[in-house]
Structures are given as C-alpha cells and as structure tokens.
C-alpha cells in the first residue's frame, strides 16, 4: 500500500461546537458502567485532605489519576507512572505510598493526604514546607511534592531523625536535579535540628 493513499483524511469532521463536547470528567467515560456481580462499585467516597469527596472511579484507576484528573489536585505529579520515581508520593493513613501504583479503590477506607492538604487552615506552611523554602530544597520542583510527602511521613513516625535515617526514609524519591543535600537539610531543619 502506498502511504500517501492511506494517510489522508485522518481527522474526523470537526466538531461543530467544542463547548458541547467539553467535559473535564471524560477520563474513563468510555468504560461501561456495568460491573460483574460482587465487583466494586464505581462511586465511592474518598477521604482526601480531610474532606470527603464523592467520585466516580473506574476499577483499575490509579489514585494519581483520580487526584489529578478528577479532583483537580495536580500537586501530585506523574514522573514515571511506574512507582520508580516518587513524584506521586501521597500519604494513606500517614504512610507514604506511590499514588501511581495504588488503585483508588485500595484506599477507599483510608485518609489520603496530598501536598495540597498540608497547609494549616490559616495558610501557614507545614514545617516541612517552610523548611524546604528556607533551605532552597527544590530545584526544578517536579519531584518536590513527593519529597515533601515522604518527609512529612518520616517526621510523623520519627520526629527527630538522624541525617542517615532521613536519607534512608527519603530514598524512594528520585530527584533528577540532584538536590538531595538540600532536601536533607530541609528535613533536618523541619525536625528542629538545624538552626
């Protein structure tokens, strides 16, 4: 076959009104709503950042996708979407996990905390966030949300870690810019061990 013959007219008729087709919740819209008996229901109440959010979630949908595309919480980043970089790190019941490698339905009965949920009600930064600002911990910033969440998880279970403990606890968060030293300084500052 000649590619010249087959490649033409690959764009379907332009939709008359893009507003008519506009939707921000089309993520899995093509998936049938039918489910086999006993399988999970799509609608669930998710506890995110202290709020209960009703959300329609496909069975195989990851938490990162639900957060980013359905709940508008884009602070959780997708660096690899394979649980290898840590940019999507969030807390589930205070434990840091990769949101890209967790099904939303797996955390339906847990309290999910994302980077957007850390500020105090009056807008004050969480001590980890404040320390990261002070130590200029982020470089490009793409991994930062995940670094913040791993640091928060660490300090919840170990409020005064040694630098070595901090480094171990943070080791599931890649920083391609190599800002590790500055992040560790931030963790030590947040735990009150650096002034």
């Amino acid at each position: 076959m000649n590619p010249k013959l087959t490649r033409r007219r690959f764009i379907k008729g332009v939709i008359a009104s893009s507003a008519a087709a506009a939707s921000t919740s089309l993520w899995y819209s093509a998936i049938g709503a039918d489910r086999p008996a006993g399988a999970v229901e799509r609608l669930l109440s998710l506890n995110v950042n202290g709020q209960t959010r009703r959300v329609d979630v496909a069975p195989q949908e990851t938490l990162a996708h639900t957060l980013r595309y359905k709940l508008g919480l884009t602070g959780t980043k997708l660096g690899c979407n394979r649980g290898e970089c840590g940019a999507c790190t969030v807390l589930a019941d205070d434990v840091n996990i990769y949101a890209c490698s967790t099904l939303t339905h797996e955390v339906s009965n847990k309290a999910v905390m994302t980077v957007e949920g850390l500020r105090a009600a009056d807008g004050t930064l969480h001590p980890v966030q404040a320390a990261f600002v002070q130590e200029l911990s982020p470089a490009c910033g793409f991994c930062t949300s995940g670094q913040v969440m791993s640091a928060v998880a660490l300090l919840k279970s170990n409020p005064r870690p040694t630098r070595e403990e901090a480094r171990q606890a943070m080791s599931g968060n890649l920083c391609r810019c190599g800002a590790y030293d500055h992040y560790l300084n931030g963790v030590m500052r947040a735990s009150g061990q650096l002034s």
Partner: protein, 813 residues
Amino acid sequence: MTYMHIGKDFTPPDVEAKVTGAARYAEDFKKDGMVFARLLTSPIPAGRVVSIDASAALAMPGVLGIFTADDLPEAKPPANPALAKEWVTYIGQPILAVAAESDFLAEEALSKIVVEYQRRPFVVDPLDTLVEGGPDPYPMGNTLIRNSGEAAAGTTASGTDVGRIKWSIDQVTAFRNGREPVGAQFGSEWEFGDLAAQFAACTTIIEEPFVTIGQPHHSLESRTGMAYWENGKCYFHGSLQSHTVGHAALAGMLEMDPANLVFINENTGGGFGSKIFPYPIMAVTGRFSRALNRPVQLRITRDEEFYIGSARSGMQGWIKIGLKDDGRVGAVDVAIINDAGSGGGGSGSSSAEHITIMFQPEAMRFRGLSLYTNTTPRGAQRGPGQNEMAAVLAPMMDKAANQAGLDRVAFRRTNAPRMDGKIGERQGGLSSSYMPEAIDKAAQMFNWEQKIAQPKQISATKVRGIGVGQGFHTAGANGYDGLIRIAPDGTIYLHTGVGNLGTYSYAGVVRASAEALQCNWDNCVVVHGNSELNLPHSTYQGGSNTIFTETRSSHVAAMDIIAKMKEIAVAEFGGAVEDYSIGGERVFLTSDNAKGMSFGEAAQKAIEMGGKYSGMEFPEDINATTKRSVQAMAGTGLIGVAKDLLPRSGAVPGMAIAFIEIELDTETGKFDILDYSAVAECGTVVHPQGLSQAMNGGGVWGFGMAQSERHVYDPQNGLPANVGLYQSKPPTYLDVPVNMNTAGMDMPDPQSPVGAKGIGEPAQGCAVAALMSAFSDALDGHLFNRTPVTADMIVNHIAQNGHNTGNLKTNTF
C-alpha cells in the same frame, strides 16, 4: 565589592508554590474540551513505513483523529522529524499521534492502528557503520556535515546533510583495540602548535583508548504539552529550559506569527540540555490542536521520554599525551568517534576543547567523526563533550603525572589556565580565570596533603581512593535585551525572558537590575514564564551561560531606566543629569536630597512625558520580541529597555575543581564517598544557595555518570534495555554522599557588571572526573578507560578474569 543583593541569599518567588503543589507544569493545565493525544512509536530500529491503516481506530466512538507526518512540513534528514514520514531510524520513534475524548480511548485506539513496516539493516555501535560494508543508519549514509552556525550556538543541533564515511577493517580493528587509526578519514580536524616537535620534547608520553557511553536525560517531567487555539491565538503550555528564545522558534514550527503565540511555561521539570530550544514533538501538539479545533494534551510517557527526550552522545577514542620535564603538558593528540544516535550530533570538538583549557597544551591535534546509529537522538546534555572527556581524562592525566613523578594536584595547578590562558583550536583568550587559586582553595578544603598521606588499605577488603577532577564549560554570551517597568505605585517589574529550569537563575539575574537600582527586593516583581506578560528577548539557556549573559542585560536595562529617571528629574528640577543620584528608590539632586522624586513619581511623570520614557518609543536595536513587549506596556509606567552592547572578548570559562575520597569494597565493587569537596570558579557568587544547589546537583550527575548511568542496546534487535528510570539508574539518595562540601571562588569576571559566570555544567564534570580518578587511585592506577565504571567491572578487574576489559564499545556492555 559590597553589594546590596548580589551574593546574598533570597527566596526566589516560585519556591513556595513548589512546596505546596501549586506550581503548575505543562501537564497540570486543563482546558474545557481538552482531548488526549498519544503517540504510536516504531517497533523497529530501521526501515520504512509502508502503510498505515487507522480505519478501525477512527471508527471508535470518541476517537477524533490521527495526525501523521503528512500533516507536517517535511523535515530533511538528519533533522529529526516530529513524526517519521518514510524512514524510521530508531525504536521508539514517533510515527503518528491519535487523539480521543479520553486518555483511555486514545490508548485503546493505538492498539487498533496497523502500521506495515519494511525493515532495513540497523546499527547500534558507531564502529559497525564505520567499517566498510557496514550498514548505514540512514539510507543515505552515516554521518552529517555540521552546520557551523547552529553548532556555534552551543548546542549539538542537527546539521544539513547526511554523508558517508567508511574505514577499512584494519583501521576499525586498530581503533577498537586502542591504537591510532592511521590514515583514517575524519569529519572534522584541527590542530595548533607544532605537534611533532612538542611530542619530541616530551619526556613522559602515554597513549590510551577510551570509551564513554551515552545516557538519557530523563528529565523528571516528561515533555507533555497542551495547546489550544482561541480567537486567532495559540496558547501553548510547554516545558522548555529557555523562554523567549524559544518563542519565535515555536511559532516557526507552527507556521504562525509569533505575535499570536502565547507560550506559557512558568515551571520546567528538568531539562539538562534537552529542552534548550523547542523540540520536534511540540509541533504535533500545536498543529493537532489546530486541526481538531480542540485543546490537545499530548502526553509523553516515561518510555517515550527516553525515546525522544534526548541523550548524551557516547564516544570512542584514542589519545596520546606528552609531558615535558617541567611538568607542562607539551602535546596532545586525540581522535574521537561520537555516537550521534538518530539525527543528533556528537561533541568531539568540545571534548578536545576541555583539554585545551584545563591543561593548556603547547600543541594539540583533534580529529573527530560523529556517526549516526539507530539509537535515540542525541543532543546537548550538561556539558556535552567536555564532561565525558573530563571523566576519562582524569585518570589518564593521573597516570601521566604519576609516571612523571609529579603530585597530581601540583601537576594540574601547573597546567591550569591563568588570566592569560588560552582555549580551543584558535587558542583564543579568556574573560577571566582563577583556576590555580580555585585548585588551591579546594585542596585546602579537602586537606589534600593529609588525605593523600593516609594508608591505602583501610581493611582487608576496603581500599581508599583519592581523586581529583576538573570541569569546564564556556559560560557566557551577550547581545540580549533587558526590560524593566516601574509602575506609578513604585512597584519595580523586572521582566525576563529567561526560562525557569530549576536553577533560580531567572530570579538571580534580574537581581543585577535591583542591585543597580539600589532598590528593596520586596518592591520588585519578577515577571517571567508567560509571553503574554511582555518579556524581553533573553538568552537561550544552555551551556551555563544564563548568569553571565543575563546579568549583563539586566544591568543595561537598569542603566537605561536610571538615565531616564535622571532626565525626568532634570525636567522637573532643572540642572544636568550628572547632578542627580538615585537611592532609597528615589531620584534626587545629589547636592539637595529634597529635590527629587520617588521611583513611582518618576513613573507617573514618564507616563505624562511619553516617548521613550513610557515605552512609546524604543531603541531600534532591540529584538522584535522585546519591541512587542514594550509596545504592549507603552504608557503604563517608566520603561527601561536596552540591548546588551557592553564590551566582550574571549571565552567566558565556568570552571570547577573537585576532590573526592572513596572507600572501595574490593569484594563487591561497591564504594562509599567519604568526602566530596568542590570549588566553583564562577566569578562573583550571585546567589549562594543557588550555587550550592548547582554544585551539589552537578555532583550527583557526576556520580551517576561515573557509576551507573548508561545506554544499553541489544545489538541483535536494536532494543534499548533501559527505557525506564530504575533501569537507567540515576543516583538515589543512597548513591551519593551524606554531605557535600562546595564553595565558590567569588572572584569577579571583569566582563560581567556584577562579575558573575555560570557553573551548571562544570559542576558535573569535576565530580565525574574526581570519582573516575578515585577509582583508578584505589586500584593501583588501573585505568578502565571508560565510563561508567560499574560494580561488575571492578569485581572482574580484581578477579583478573579478563571480562569487561575488551575493546571499545558504546551502547552495549
């Protein structure tokens, strides 16, 4: 010199948003009606697209269309096409994009598209295409004739023509086995000094082969883009290291008037050289959106980021180095084959340039050849050429020094560039060099004398390795524009077209304006990241050049606005401009402080006076982008705008020196870094925390390059083994030292108004070089002649089993 802002830490305006998750990257933007596009990529390393049958995909409800090379202007090989038209040259090369109402549907559609390919022979090792009868990566050849204009821009941008160079089997065999390929043809050559005479005068001569392996950039943000068209304008959310310098180029890719392109890119999740200029896939995002009349998000997966996200070129080479009795490097002869991948370029000449400046040889010859392979496109990666040369050169120079009975550090100091140092094939001058002083400072920080006197053997299974390494990159350009607006309320808007690549240089450079204006930083607003915000034409951001280049343009804009304020004051109070001063955000009569006005009042006055004061008029020599920005702001305040015409001569060298102490486990090949101390010769330090960030981050890159990061391709089928992050092995928290000690020389470069030079790339070069040097030192001077040095190579070396010590190969074990 005592500065108000320069050399002081500050909180860059974007940091808080990064720690709260509010900072938005291209993929974080949504738009009503946005559709999701995905790429179909080549499963074969070389061949031809025979046909595409997308009928089943297009029949799916919710699938909106596909976009192919036919929808794009033709890209002439080796220019990298956004989508392959006919010839496929690597696995993972994008063939087409499909758009659908959901990401899920787009991916389903991909699996329903049938592409018929015709295979061609392929090659993953440059020497396999170089040998007579070897396959050519492109149908029309295996090498390019470089476009010197683009090359001069500091990138390894594609050239214009594909040609063919072949060596005899004997020549390739000799080269593979570490010997000079006598009589072989190269793509580029240069020479200075009397090579033969200088070698004849040398008393120590070493001859070594070397190989370095390319590695993907793997910026953590994949290059997803989102574009939409509204009221004749294109809004493009993208991810570039540079900002305004990419704007016109992107408009060109979309074949549109730059005035109608709104480029939004406040944050960039890593680039490392791979996002200096707009990259091909951006054309698809923008044009697909135009064709569909819908906002399009073209998501790039991690695998795809490996394929199209650029990579460092590998090199295979041979070098001969001669030392004279006095410890000076007399002559160097080097030959380098670069792996350009598909439609990229090698940086052999830059590798050779590293030697010329770091060791100041009397005579030198470089011969280089950049060859394509059917692997991912190669481009600039953090010190392309220089840093891989730094890596392999360090242990070789150690060997030469040891052979000549010289202390390795004293030897480097003897040969280090001084203020009158020379660089490159033309042996041009330098804007400044305090490298000997930097070596002294770092040696002192590290305690070299004491460290080197320690016993080698730490325990039965642990040996100590002490290494030293240097990094270099040209770090400056000139001729860009600065732009400042002061509003009637006194707010000082510092506009910059510098991208936000994570170094905070976008904010650091405009502090040169604040410095000249002697104003309170809290009253300044940094305007950047969105072309609708009226940005000036600023430098491309690669090659460590932002700090030098843009402190200059920031300074000239400040000078312009100060001159205008004085003229306004003259108009109000009389006298001559020389009679006026600025201070406390006022312009006033030097002899009578009461006669003056605030910056805000001057701005109000400027609006009344119009003309050049309020941006109604502007200099002819500024760039079209800057002109548009001034026009858009005209009448809204006092405008300072100028092109940087400050004097410039010689190369601007950013340099760094690192020392490292490792404890190497001879039973496992693993090691710990006990001490890492590095000093940047970067002129005046503008932002100490930023410098620390650059030096530490560069160090981490250096450790990765030395110990783990590499391409691995299967020569049987052209498949890359390490597309994912865990397989590409960038260093984690646990692969770098717990603490890193870095400092800056803080000696001003005379050609920057604030004395600053860049340092991003040398920060990696010095680290990889020091670590390679330490490996060699730990193993009694053994040379691996390659990067990376992985644990298995060390174990094999110690076991003396003869593995991993063979001939020159890049892209494979």
